[in-house]
């Protein structure tokens, strides 16, 4: 009995000696249901791999990740953001695939003084005037994502381009971004219904217009439909297909050889030659049995970024300016290459030409074909009042 009491007393003492803030709570918001679910899963898996690589912690701090599904619905996003802030009392939120959800939850989260590391969606209003000191992105601004392909199309000597995108805001942003650096002529701009399954009509029109190349932005399942049908129409290889956010790590497994020969522009390629990326790709493949997409890369970077900042402040988030400065330093090695933050707290980063080619085993894979933009900043940072 006496021994037991002593043991109890010792354990109480031991508990008391532990630091008060034992755990950092992180809210993870992404789309985990519906057609966008594959993207959310990639984001989440990579973030958890980032925690694994940091020794099951971030910056030496124990973390608890609370995963929530926004269902691609802005109103659901707001609900879960409130729940994470008010009930779970998270100190950090990360994730978010889609811009409409991002637009809805950005303000409630940053107004509450909660740090928000966006790892995908980058709607333009948040890049410019609407930037926040509590918001950091490890991804890009929506239309700067499409600027590299405009530049690349110019560099490749294409004079007449036919462009297609879905008829919604991100589709129009994509075409605007493309046009900003494309010097040739756009012979037609076609906007199709969102989630349209069949593109035979549009593809026949495009081929009949005899352009030098076709540029498309068709994320998710739309991209699979378009690229397959483009190849089945016998155009791939004859009429160059340029794309961004269409053939990526999440869609290539469903398109496979129908994408061979496609040219894409991307902030990431799985074959980027840096040690941190080699480790990331190898372990991602080992753990989840697939090649990481750029979504995954950005989310892994978010984990690395948080780890670096928490290490600098030793897990202290009470002094917000200090933690913000620690984030802003971006003291980590991004798997996507050079990475630093602009004044609007969006990255200044490289964009690559990434082609779909056969790898050593004869399987279609992404191959980095050089840098299109080195240390590229978006067009809106000057409108952001932050210093």
């Amino acid at each position: 009995m006496k021994r037991l009491l002593a043991l109890a007393a010792a354990s109480v003492l031991a508990l008391a000696a532990m630091p008060a803030a034992a755990q950092i709570k992180i809210g993870f918001i992404a789309t985990f249901s519906g057609p966008g679910a594959a993207l959310g899963q990639d984001l989440y898996d990579a973030f958890m791999l980032g925690i694994d690589h940091a020794g099951g912690k971030l910056g030496g701090q124990a973390v608890e990740v609370i995963k929530e599904d926004d269902q691609l619905k802005p109103e659901v996003g707001v609900q879960i953001a409130r729940k994470l802030i008010e009930k779970d009392r998270v100190q950090i939120v990360t994730g978010v695939i889609f811009s409409n959800v991002m637009m809805a939850i950005h303000k409630p989260i940053t107004d509450a003084g909660v740090f928000f590391i966006g790892s995908n969606a980058g709607p333009t209003p948040l890049t410019g005037k609407g930037c926040s000191r509590y918001f950091f992105s490890t991804a890009w601004n929506n239309d700067s994502l499409h600027e590299p392909m405009g530049k690349l199309a110019t560099d490749l000597g294409y004079k007449r381009i036919y462009v297609l995108a879905p008829n919604y805001q991100a589709g129009k942003d994509a075409i605007n971004g493309f046009k900003r650096y494309f010097k040739g002529r756009i012979i037609d701009e076609v906007y199709t219904q969102v989630n349209q399954p069949d593109y035979a009509a549009e593809i026949a029109q495009a081929a009949a217009a005899k352009p030098d190349a076709v540029y498309v932005f068709y994320p998710g399942g739309m991209g699979i439909n378009f690229v397959r049908q483009y190849q089945q129409a016998g155009l791939l290889g004859k009429l160059p297909l340029l794309s961004t956010a269409t053939i990526d790590g999440t869609t290539l497994p469903a398109i496979k050889e129908a994408a061979l020969g496609a040219i894409t522009a991307s902030p990431y390629s799985p074959d980027l030659d840096n040690p941190q990326n080699k480790r990331f790709v190898a372990d991602f493949q080992k753990k989840y049995g697939r090649i990481p997409s750029w979504f995954a890369a950005q989310s892994y970077d978010a984990a690395q970024l948080l780890s670096s900042a928490l290490r600098r402040t030793k897990g202290d988030l009470t002094n917000k300016e200090r933690f913000r400065a620690a984030l802003k330093a971006a003291d980590f090695k991004s798997v996507t290459g050079p990475f630093r933050f602009n004044t609007n707290q969006f990255p200044i980063r490289n964009y690559y030409r990434v082609d779909v080619v056969k790898d050593a085993s004869g399987q279609p894979a992404f191959a980095n074909k050089g840098v299109v933009f080195k240390n590229h900043a978006d067009n809106y940072s000057k409108e952001c009042p932050l210093k």
């Binding site: 679910a37 594959a38 009509a201 009949a208 049908q229 469903a254």
Partner: protein, 306 residues
């Protein structure tokens, strides 16, 4: 606009129509004969596509994929009909909509659970991977195959409905189910048969669509909407209506999408045409449906009663 391009677009419309026909034929029978609103028809199409993709990956053969996917979906359809739907035939349409909508959600989650959220891979059979030259414009050989399969199914259904005893009962059931039952026909068995036929046709559509469209959770919903437009335009319960309705919807949709933006540009400024073109093109089939309903409330080829 050249005539060969116009011809290609007509062919594209025909092919989309044929694919829609495979789906609508089953749905219109279930709707017309059993007076049952089956929103889960799109889910059967999705299951057909997934079974086909899985069988294709396992066997590497498109034919084997079809031989597995169609019977598997048929069995699944019959099981669902027996377990969940048969007791709803006498109920209100709203109850049927609620239940079959629930089935959509269940099937989508089951698919996600088994195959994951990411779209799965399926390719055209290598014999049909190439293109056929049509007046100098290449056309996908696989899409020709879809047209051939669809026409064969259409002919088969025509023979089944108009030349066999079962077909006679189906037609009679569509015209007056209560009277058929009163004459001693096992209407329960007939219902199962019709539902199973619908499921098998949905699976065939899923198989044919697998290499063209992304095989992913929720793939049945956008196509179900088109299918509903088809059967309402064609006349509910009529296979002939489904056939012509599908071709009409396919051609109007395709030709509208292809040429309307260009035509609008002749009359309006570029910016207006660019904004209005896709919006109007995507509305065209609904306008078509509205016009048909205004002129012929029972659709183009209504089932004759009495």
């Amino acid at each position: 606009m050249t005539s060969s391009l116009f011809f290609t677009q007509l062919l594209n419309g025909l092919q989309l129509g044929i694919l829609l026909f495979l789906l609508s034929a089953g749905l219109t029978l279930v709707f017309g004969i059993m007076n049952f609103v089956n929103l889960a028809h799109g889910s059967l199409y999705m299951m057909g596509a997934y079974f086909a993709a899985a069988a294709y990956r396992w066997s590497g053969s498109f034919i084997v994929a079809g031989l597995i996917a169609v019977p598997a979906t048929l069995a699944l359809g019959l099981a669902v009909e027996r377990v969940a739907l048969a007791r709803l035939y006498s109920r209100d349409h709203l109850d049927q909509v609620l239940t079959t909508f629930g089935l959509i959600l269940i099937f989508n989650e089951v698919v996600r659970f088994v195959w994951g959220s990411a779209p799965v891979y399926m390719n055209v059979p290598s014999a049909l991977a190439g293109t056929v030259s049509l007046f100098g414009l290449p056309y996908s050989a696989y899409r020709f195959a879809i047209i051939a399969v669809g026409l064969a199914v259409g002919a088969g259904l025509y023979l089944l409905i108009h030349r066999t005893r079962i077909g006679m009962l189906i037609r009679a059931g569509a015209a007056n189910g209560a009277m058929v039952a009163a004459l001693g026909v096992n209407i329960r068995l007939l219902n199962s048969l019709v539902f199973g036929l619908g499921a098998a046709l949905a699976a065939l559509a899923g198989l044919m669509a697998g290499p063209i469209f992304a095989v992913q959770p929720g793939m049945g919903e956008p196509i179900l909407i088109l299918t509903l437009v088809v059967i309402i335009t064609g006349g509910i319960g009529s296979i002939r209506g489904a056939f012509y309705g599908a071709l009409l919807v396919g051609v109007v949709d395709t030709v509208g999408r292809a040429f309307l933006p260009g035509i609008l540009r002749e009359f309006f400024e570029r910016a207006i045409a660019q904004a209005a073109g896709p919006a109007i093109a995507s509305m065209l089939i609904y306008l078509l449906m509205a016009v048909v309903l205004a002129l012929r409330p029972k659709g183009l080829f209504p089932v004759k009663h009495g």
